[in-house]
Symmetry: none
Subunit: 231 residues, 2 copies
Amino acid sequence: MPVYQKIAKELEDDLRHKYQAGDYLPSESQLAKYFQVNRHTVRRAIDELVTAGLILRHQGKGNMVLRQPADYYLHAGAHFTGNLLEQGSLPRCEVLQSRTLVASERLARKLDCEPESKIIHLRTYRKMDGVPRTVIDHYLSDYSWWPVIKHFQSGSLHNFIKKELGVELERKSTRLRAQIPNTEYCRLLQINSSIPLLIIRTTNVIKGTEKVAEYSSSNTRSDVIELVMEH
Amino acid sequence: MPVYQKIAKELEDDLRHKYQAGDYLPSESQLAKYFQVNRHTVRRAIDELVTAGLILRHQGKGNMVLRQPADYYLHAGAHFTGNLLEQGSLPRCEVLQSRTLVASERLARKLDCEPESKIIHLRTYRKMDGVPRTVIDHYLSDYSWWPVIKHFQSGSLHNFIKKELGVELERKSTRLRAQIPNTEYCRLLQINSSIPLLIIRTTNVIKGTEKVAEYSSSNTRSDVIELVMEH
DNA sequence: ACGAATTTGTACGTATGTATG
DNA sequence: CCATACATACGTACAAATTCG
């Protein structure tokens, strides 16, 4: 067995006993010194763990422990279970970035507004076990909401809008697909492209009207989720 | 953009125009010379394509082209769109096999019956453009239906059951996930393992009761489908 | 059957870029 | 601005698998 695989095994073992989710590994240089190998070899070993979803790389910061491999083996049976109908307004999400932008052709179509018009973009994420598992892009068609929306920090976006703007949103349609993640989502969710994403796209209207207020796209690692609908 | 990503892009472009599935790329050394970079850099670029499911490495032999990314670009526009709620009783499906079997632990749990009891298994498929896109496994808990069910050939299973057995089925729950296909489904759906499956599992009860009559698992190539719910 | 040439796989070393605190 | 840590890239060497004479 190659050296890097041995080190990967040993590290995986350490994850189980020495570290907890959220901890940072010793730096690659330190590990290289400890294992008496080149730093590349340690990196290769850590690559294995990243691919397995156990480690998250942070440039300039360090390699974070995502979860303990004990969880790992539960996988087959122990998926996080989400409700398909709750999806649009995740109760516990945090803002990754918020900004305004000019609507592309495609977004304008989704939001039923003019191309080139200014809209709001929020990117939020949801953690499980302290780690981002879902990244959601929200696009809001009403630019006048920006002074309020820009203060949204965490919690439920829909509740925030209801409370601060007095507007209640209602889901109009849901589209669902699975796809190999692009490089951006690979980075955000720390997976490689062997793990598909489950993508849920919803259109939300202002309650009781046909006016499209929000288009959102939620992207979840498919290895940790199973969506449920009870009829 | 890093050099290795540029090279990956260029190679991906070459896959579309210069190579066919089954071809071998020039050796890494040759590519390194051509791109005027170190062999490591080429390797890193090829790693990207391997991860994307486009290339297969063969030690001592070379790097084989698996498929052309041309398939990819059909995606966006050419999706089959299915309705999530129609799922249980596909109007046009054909029987691949039908048999009886003894319920495993897992199936018994799903069907709410005793392990080791005899149940019915139907495997059906649905074609689009002449190619199987969806394979559905139906498990029926009531073995006494077998003399009737075994004559089901094509059409809608639920309609058949209603007509021939006078029993109406009703969906109780739906679970949805995405997963890399196993070898059996790769064969059935004629894909390789880089295309995820969209899996919908439903539990159906006899209308108006809590009696579970059917558990079904539908497996669709995720590159040709988008599920829709209108609310 | 064997060895040489080719090709990918692993490992070491070094240097520089980029993000974080 | 600086130190630290990860990211990328160059170079070299040898091991392991495959092919072919």
